[in-house]
Amino acid sequence: MAINIDKTICVGCGACLKACPYDAIDMIGRKAIMNANCVHCGSCVDSCKFKAITSTASDAPKADLAEWKGILVFAETRDGAPAKVALELLGRGRGLADERKVPLYAALLGHQVEPLAQTLIAHGADVVLTVDDPQLAEFRTAPFCRALTGVIREIKPEIVLIGATVIGRDLAPRTANRLRTGLTADCTELAIEAASGLLLQTRPAFGGNVMATIICPNHRPQMSTVRPGVMKPLAADPNRKGEVKPVKIGLKDADLKVIVRETIRSAAKHVDLAEAQVIVAGGRGVGGAQQFGVVRDLAALLGGEIGASRAAVESGWIGHDHQVGQTGKSVSPKLYIALGISGAIQHLAGISGADFVVAVNRDPLAPIMKAADVAIVGDLHQVAPLLAAEIRRHRKEASA
């Protein structure tokens, strides 16, 4: 897409300046002029009442795009089992594959991993492509890139989905470049555009302050990394039938130059926000490290994990492994209780997978209040302890 401003039509009203999220339009001599910040997002096109701004679609798709069929999920493994995000991607991939009426493939790379194939089939895969090599026992970029690229070239899928984990964010860009195709990072929504059949890849952009929908019209496969914790896995169906196909990939000496000397698992208690069913999170409104006690109490009472906003983490009140949102983690609990969190878009994007949100904030206009299922206007230091007391009282009555 290229953006053109017709200077003969432009009246210099400035509406496009306000619409542009990237500060890419200057007003020079009462005419709107595009500057180098433009990312061709098209936000200005609709803003112009005088139709002075037009966008032209880029080159028509190449004819061979139709050869690419099917959805491929990279099945990352962790401790000898499929990573949770792999099952989440199979869940979403199944929906996309059904919509496109194409098969859902899983790429399972590793050493002696074939027993995991049935788990992938039970979660929605039609065909599991396995690459088995002792050099793939532990993740390293180059051999995994060689293997994944080989699988992709073998089956030619129209879409490739990879979890946006440390492994996925290392592997995906290298692989996408080797295939000279597009890659969209950290997607939180995936959909098929009805008219074109294109994958609509939606992600937080501009530091999470806006959402952007990205397409990859003229290259295949369309590749996305997808944030863990956003998509929902299907319930496992052990009777589901699928096919397991080994793929032979010849690794090269050049792939083996980086050598893993030691792998150290973090000794600290693992804060598992992505897996948590209940999260109680605190933000700037909590007021201090000591005051975080109210958040901890309620979390402990509900058997949940403790979350935090970026503001609370950056104030040093709680460790960064508790952070929910853009640079932290996406979560998908059944219940999310936000205490004194205003709800910056990156935070709201991080909790978009939560089933039920309760927010407590003194400001009824805070963005979190609109995102919440129940928004309590009030001081969290009064409300949270009271809620804890009421829950205790209720439990006592229920057990009596």
Partner: protein, 262 residues
Amino acid sequence: MNIIVTVKQVPDTNDVRIDPTTGTLIREGVPSIVNPEDRHAVELALELREAAGGGRVTVISMGPPQAEVALREVLAMGADEAILLSDRAFAGADTLATASALSYAIKKIGNFDLIICGRQAIDGDTAQVGPQLAEFLQIPQVTYVLTARFSYGGLLIERQTDSGTQRLTAPLPALLTCLKETNVPRIPTLPGCIGAYREKTFTVWSAKDIAAPAEQIGLKGSPTQVRRTFTPAPKGEGRILTGEPAATVRQTLDILLEKGLI
């Protein structure tokens, strides 16, 4: 030891606010800064240059002419030379086209042992340019680097993983992307700041200067396109409870019990 560091000038996205009524970005007063993790990348390069007992640290950026400010800032930290890729032909680049332009520039620089990038930029958060650049240059990559030092003619690296850390060795040349935890970037000294403007070499290269084919850079070299940007719609349908805490808490508890959430 010749080290190239990629640097991006970014808006300080922490300062961006949304207009609650129009739902659009409020950009006024949002300063441009050196991408935070890139400052750690520069620091790591300076430390490795010192450990090697010599060499050059070249910083490179792609962006509009005003990105010069960001490059001068890292020159003031102690980098030796700066190159800015600035040309309308680079505009509209996605991560692949950005990495492509950088790769042509780095091939023109020629002699390098190591490339260091920040893990990701705060305006895009993609973390893709580093690995894509490594692939264009056909050199090994190590991402999410915590520490790196010379060892046996290569690098001994500690990197973060999803479940802990990993120690590995990599040959040179290689490309690293580093995290904030890597180091504490030095503050430019006053002589450093003056030198950054008076003594250090600062060069602007166009697409022609780096002999980058038009179809491999900018909008034309970008497989991905932005279809639309929007501020997410509020979920709506929520219940707002006001009044005495005792009453609002009681109502909340009833809702949570009814939904079977506690």
